[in-house]
Amino acid sequence: MLALAAVIVGVILSVFMRLHLAWPGLQFPQMFGGTMKPETYEALLTMHGTLMIFFVLTAAPQGAFGNYFLPIQLGAPDMAFPRLNMLSFWITFLSFACMISAFFVPGGAPISGWTGYAPLSSLGPVTGPGEGLGQTMWLVSIGLFCIATLLGALNFISTTIDMRAPGMTLLRMPLTAWAWFVTAILSLLSFAVLLAAAIMLLLDRLAGTSFFIPAGIVVSGKLQAHSGGSPLLWQHLFWFFGHPEVYITILPAMGVTSHILSTFSRKPVFGYRAMVGATCAIGVLGFLLWGHHMFVSGMSPYSAFAFSMATLAIGVPSAIKTFNWLGTLWRGRIHFTTAMLFALGFVSVFVTGGLSGLFLAQPAVDSLLHGTYYVVAHFHLVMSMAAMFGIFAATYLWFPKMFGRMMNETLGKVHFWFTFVGAYLIFVPMHFVGLAGGVRRYADFTAVPYLWSLQPLQRFITWAALVTASVQLLFLWNLFSSLRSGEKAGKNPWRATTLEWITTSPPPHGNFAGEYPRVYRAPYEFSVPRAKDDFVMQSESESV
């Protein structure tokens, strides 16, 4: 629910940004401040990124679906430390409240981007409205979020290591469980670093230290009393967290995609062990390539080369996954349910967005494109859209289990097609804006002739965004109306194999009503020759 609230705010912010970009002089209703000032645009940009990345793409796949389904899929009554879990949730809630309040303090929300780059973020109100109390609250909120995520992560890891049902070996875990497990390890190792960096930045702001502020900075003609810090140090610490964060958002979506593709093509996952290996490889490599976010920040070409190679290398496990997804689909009996459509959509946008990553991984090309909409298009497709498709797929798949009722498939399919086509209509033209030199983060292109000539394309993107955003109302309607009037779902509406489908929908307290399962087989045994059905559940013991 928290993530749902965050995603709604996040989408509204992006819609306002798009409206402003398309029609810079547009009068918004008075309560939103009339014509948008550049600093307001930057504040929206910052808060859109922050809310989406932390409170939606990090919180929803792991905090919502992972917490709910990891223990069930492993055959456990609950997460290892339920009270710690509760604490983690409430700290996240506090963090969210703190972040939203940043809108309502004097000066408003911060303007330094979701990356909070110093020294813009570290000097206080002199660098702009929102850089006063707003930025401080942003940092406190991020610090709290780090703590909540760390508590959650250690819970996930302990649960996976120690709470598996008898017979549930590591290589019998569903790929969703593998994804949550590796994601939790990434969270544990990376959010600790962000916490340290956030504390240092907070000290720079509040206690007069100079960790990230260089000497001799002049703002508005006034020399700032700081000495010798390094803005690059912030960037290194931030991206050491920030790149694993990308995989924290995408790995659970990959897991649920594998899960769904197998279930709805009625075939075992092609290359299960390779999938596990690729997940782990992405986890390891994800820590070695943060520097590709900093090619244009001033970096030795030798380091840039190393980061570039590591970045290209992560294409290998990603490609392994993609081939295995296609292999899973190959000659399967495909059921085009909404969950399946979103999983297929995930593969599509992940590949499309990933391809532009190969270009950006070259430092020489990146130095041209880094400040443009090309990068915006790239990460929105490969990370944001892909992760959102994963969240939608998971919702359509598990809603019957969580609430005991089915979602409306017709509405779901309409939702899918508009979202899928919409995603491409928004982000493909954005690549062209970027290639034509359209700079990102600018609030207004009116005064720059070559940018103004791209305006028709920008308006097209805005229209596409408006339609796509409106279609999400259909999803909300489907979600809430199905809660009351959806068709009743049995234990196993999708005829799937993993442990969440042996318990009632919704599961009782303790998940299995005291009768904990024992596991006898691999997670995706579909279409087993000579079996009485086209699927065999993990807990089925009779030999087939």
């Binding site: 890891i157 504390i199 050491f240």
Partner: protein, 207 residues
Amino acid sequence: MSENPRNSHFDSGSDSANGVGLFDTDGFVPQRTYVTGMMMALAGVLMFFMALVSAYVVRKGMPNSGWTAIPDLPRILWLNTCVLLGSSAALVFARAHFRAEDEAGFRRWWGASTVLGLCFLAGQVAAWRELAAKGFYLATNASSSFFYLFTAAHGLHLAGGIVGLIWVLMRPTRRLTRGTATEVAAMYWHFIDGIWVFLFLILSIER
């Protein structure tokens, strides 16, 4: 069932694993889960301090960093370090008494360890006051900033550990057995002590 909970020493029975696989009907988790959880927590703590230390190393090694070391670190830090190591040693004795089922001995040494931990914190505050008296504050220069940051971050973690030690001594535990509680608390305590030795080495050698 191969997964047996760790033996409990003073109390027994609350972690039975009979009948239904890993969990009893109340859903108690196996005791080793707490050990795993603590190991994961410590991995996070380690990353946190590594981030601070790497920032220190980078900041100090920057060209034209204008790095000026604090002339001489407060001597009391050596004493504090000894006190903290003593505290760890006391905890080892306490657990030995615990294993020998000597409740009085256990409480005595465990209490001693806690008190030594508090002494360490008091000593760290004394070190701060000494530095402040010499005119080195948090924002004076980079090395003093890092000094206060390291000691404060470590002090907070240690204070959390003291709360844990007192909790083990005072409160009966429900979900985890006393044996697990002492083990987990000791893991944390020794680890945070080790972190201090590492930070102190960095602060005194890499000045």
